[in-house]
Subunit: 145 residues, 2 copies
DNA sequence: AAAGTTGAAACAGAAATGTTTACAACTTTA
DNA sequence: TAAAGTTGTAAACATTTCTGTTTCAACTTT
């Protein structure tokens, strides 16, 4: 089980937009080249980021741009934007526990709070990190090369 | 994306073993009935729990038993036992970032620490919860019915 | 010896995910 | 206005992952 790579692709895309915008047109084709991911997938991710208000894109005129400052975009915003987890939650409960069994009938309720707490711990950590930090680290590594 | 339901099935199974052991033989067939999950899947989960030293089962003689005290089993132990996440980690990095692009070449390194921290936050939360707590809650809910 | 059970492998089906192809809608440039 | 380049999106296809099913050998108890 792994969280969809669209998440890391999205971060990669946003880092590219920040670093290359102004120098060149950051098209889905260019981003496909940098990420190694199909241009249609890139456009899909860009669409989700656009719906979340994180980037701006327009038909015809190529080139994506950030819609927010880097330090106003957290990893959690991106994680939500690309739908890493659905409304069911991170953990998948088995669907048909036996209601005639006292355990089967109640285990879901007994676990729910714990599972939500675990998911919240993950998400809070993502909320505490901004793209500004990730891009700063990336630039630093590039400069040190 | 969701963590395999084998995790909640495993917790359900362990709760059943604790609650019904002594009263009846807790066989894979019985557990299949309580969880609503195929008996072969149940035996698979029991096998993983046995490998992790959490339960004891034997061929021929039916009936699973706990191999540890309830308060010595954390949700993390179960999560590891049933292989919720593999060695690659919870997050899935896209495989072919372009090494000719400064971002593509370095984004992985720039993100890794952050992703590991997020995964650790989830796992630490699971480590802080024992089966004893979950079963106590389950018994409490049963008693209040 | 018979009945019940676990362990494990092989196969099938379903569901989720990712890829590719195709094309209409749009913008810019010449 | 025409051409070229780009985005948005749908549809078809392929791949992967998860779950269920079947089958049977090995084992234990009665």
């Amino acid at each position: 089980m792994q969280i969809t790579s669209k998440f890391t692709v999205a971060v990669h895309i946003l880092a590219c937009i920040d670093i290359f915008d102004g120098q060149m047109r950051v098209t889905s084709d260019f981003l496909s080249g940098s990420t190694g991911v199909n241009a249609v997938i890139v456009r899909g991710v860009l669409g989700q980021l656009r719906n979340a208000g994180i980037v701006e894109t327009r038909q015809g005129s190529g080139g994506a741009h950030l819609a927010k400052a880097l330090d106003e975009i957290t990893l959690y915003d991106i994680y939500k934007a690309v739908d890493c987890v659905d409304d069911e939650g991170l953990f998948h409960f088995h669907e048909n526990p036996n209601a005639d069994c006292p355990v089967g009938r109640n285990i879901h309720k007994a676990m729910d709070g714990r599972l939500e707490a675990a998911q919240a711990a993950l998400e809070n950590e993502l909320k505490s990190t901004t793209l500004a930090q990730v891009v700063a680290d990336t630039r630093k590594i590039i400069d040190e090369e």
